[in-house]
């Protein structure tokens, strides 16, 4: 039998039993759609997290005071002193490193802001002008912190969008004096809304020069030092250089932790990829179930069409021909099921993106390809047994069934 004839024959056979055919197509479609939608969810979560990290700034190296503990408890640990403070001078010394582009010290505390009888609690971040470059903050009104000596406590502040709304309402904010803790500072700029930036909502933060924050909180130490490497390829160099420099400055003691954003990002990326793969695996079980259903349907088809198989044999059909016809039918069921499932899944992912615009729920290509291939191969694989059974039927016995 010619190939187009095999296809036409299988198509007619499948459409001859519309209910049975549509049910098995539906089962296959649900399996594929499940894979597509679930992996879209998993990969969407990954993209979401990656985007969040990227908004932190690029080529970032972060210095945290204190050493992350390695090794267990030992008597020597018990007597070591607390880590040395991370100071503004430490931060300033890092700017001289060749692999470093910019450095920003960061000190965070809570305080109160008051203006015109309104008062609220907020987060005060002491930093430098470089911080705004590193984190890509855009200014809405006024200007960023002045590029001044880090030891000068100029009484100026840059406020977040939400603070401006709540304290100033519709009045102009830039140029006004506000009370910040026990200080009087002048507002020189308002940030554009940036939203959530990993634990800290920058819309509700006041930025002041680092020296002012240190004076306000009566503290010498820094919360973080943000370092921007000269380029992507310099991140590792910068990390090493920063660690060496601080070790040298701290009398040879490694009492800071240097992390790169890339490392954190890579960890999350790996984690969420694994999650997506796991979810895809779970969804793939439904594909196997659909495959078994296709086998079931084909076995029923073989039983139902026993007389027809006998007839085809009497008319000179070889075993191979009959096997091909039934395999083609199984392949068609899975193919159209997979196709329908693909469209259904894309539709589901689209609906997800419409309802949650921040969540980029796109199914990854590998998952789509894997789902389609698995659907087709299970359909074919589970089609083999019924097709063989049909091909091996004894024509005399088959013809008698009616």
């Amino acid at each position: 039998m010619r190939f187009p004839d095999v296809l036409r024959f299988a198509r007619d056979a499948a459409t001859g039993y519309p209910l049975r055919t549509s049910l098995s197509v539906l089962a296959m479609a649900i399996g594929v759609a499940a894979v597509v939608v679930l992996t879209a969810l998993g990969d969407g979560a990954r993209r979401y997290v990656v985007n969040q990290f990227s908004s932190l700034g690029t080529n970032l190296v972060i210095v945290i005071p204190g050493r992350s503990a390695t090794g267990g408890f030992n008597p020597a640990n018990a007597v070591t002193k607390t880590p040395r403070d991370l100071t503004t001078d430490d931060a300033a010394s890092l700017t001289r490193l060749s692999s470093v582009q910019r450095v920003a010290p960061l000190l965070v505390g809570t305080s109160e802001i008051s203006y015109g009888g309104r008062l609220r609690e907020l987060v005060v971040a002491g930093t430098s002008s470089t911080y705004f470059d590193i984190r890509n903050f855009q200014i809405a009104q006024g200007k960023v912190l002045p590029d001044e000596d880090w030891n000068r406590a100029i009484p100026v502040a840059v406020i977040g969008e939400k603070i401006r709304d709540e304290i100033f309402g519709s009045q102009p904010a830039v140029g006004q004096f506000v009370r910040l803790g026990d200080r009087r500072v002048r507002v020189i700029g308002v940030l554009k809304p940036t939203g959530q930036g990993l634990g800290m909502n920058t819309d509700e933060v006041v930025f002041v020069p680092i020296a002012l924050a240190q004076a306000m909180f009566n503290s010498n130490t820094l919360f973080r030092i943000l370092v921007e490497a000269r380029g992507r390829s310099h991140i590792d160099d910068a990390k090493l250089a920063v660690a060496d420099q601080l070790k040298a400055r701290h009398a040879g003691e490694e009492d800071v932790t240097v992390i790169t954003q890339d490392a954190v990002l890579a960890t999350f990326d790996k984690l969420l990829r694994a999650l997506t793969a796991a979810v895809a695996g779970i969804a793939a079980i439904s594909l196997a179930v659909a495959g078994i259903l296709v086998m079931n349907v084909m076995l029923v088809a073989v039983t139902q069409r026993t007389a027809e198989i006998g007839l085809l044999k009497a008319l000179g059909a070889q075993g191979r021909t009959i096997r091909h016809a039934f395999l083609a039918e199984a392949a068609m069921l899975s193919f159209f099921g997979a196709l329908a499932g693909y469209l259904l899944g894309q539709l589901g992912a689209f609906a997800l993106r419409q309802s949650f615009p921040v969540f980029p729920a796109y199914p990854p290509d590998w998952a789509v390809v894997a789902a389609l291939v698995t659907a087709l191969s299970t359909g074919l694989l589970f089609g083999i047994m019924p097709a063989r059974r049909a091909a091996q039927m004894d024509p005399v016995q088959a013809l008698m069934k009616h």
Binding site: M1, R2, A307, K313, L315, L399
Partner: protein, 227 residues
């Protein structure tokens, strides 16, 4: 020249612990162009004989020669190839594929044999005309009368121009008048040279054949040629 030659053919079935000799030591020779009726009560082995002649079954012993070729021990696929080209079947219950139209049913053997679609179309059109089915080409079997169905089945059986036409109770499911039409059609085909072998237990139908084989208990009781 003998078209069909059976020598010492036996067919044994195992039913539970009893052995049934459906055919025992059968010798038979049929010449090309003959008109043969195989008759006998049910269980006499006539259907078994027809299945053997149609290469749907294989004898347990003996030799079957079709057109002077020993076809006794052919593989199922080789048997299928011979059926495709040399043997046409007509069944009591027509055995049309319900989802295919009359034209598609007639074209089925050619499709299975891999004949190109263009040639199939012309041959089917000719067959539809020859069998008076032009108006019914696109009808499905359930839209056809019994007589029309059997005519479609005969058109299908002859479309590959076989040497032998095997008919198993071809009028069994038809009323007297349409049954006669079908028989006349088969006889006309026989007159044009096709060897016709009919299995029936209707003596009236059997008596129309020039040669009658009476079967009983797997044995050939009588081989009678009308003059």
């Amino acid at each position: 020249m003998a078209l069909i030659e059976l020598a010492g053919v036996e067919r044994v079935f195992q039913l539970g612990d009893s052995t049934v000799h459906a055919l025992s030591r059968l010798d038979l020779s049929i010449t090309a162009g003959e008109y043969v009726a195989i008759m006998g009560p049910s269980g006499s082995g006539k259907s078994t004989l027809l299945n053997l002649l149609g290469l749907l079954d294989r004898p347990d012993a003996g030799v079957y020669r079709l057109e002077e070729r020993d076809v006794t021990m052919l593989s199922p696929d080789e048997q299928a190839a011979v059926r495709s080209r040399r043997i046409g079947f007509v069944f009591q219950s027509f055995h049309l594929v319900p989802r295919l139209t009359a034209a598609e049913n007639i074209a089925l053997p050619m499709m299975l044999a891999g004949i190109p679609a263009a040639e199939r179309t012309t041959r089917v059109r000719q067959a539809l005309k020859d069998f008076g089915l032009d108006q019914r080409a696109d009808h499905r079997p359930d839209q056809l009368s019994g007589g029309q169905r059997q005519r479609v089945a005969i058109a299908r059986a002859t479309i590959m121009q076989p040497a032998v036409l095997l008919a198993d109770e071809p009028t069994g499911n038809l009323d007297r008048a349409t049954g006669d039409d079908v028989i006349h059609l088969l006889e006309a085909l026989n007159a044009s040279g096709v060897t016709l072998i009919i299995v029936t237990h209707d003596p009236k139908l059997g008596s129309r054949a020039r040669r009658q084989l009476m079967m009983e208990d797997g044995l050939l009781k009588q081989d009678m040629v009308q003059v």
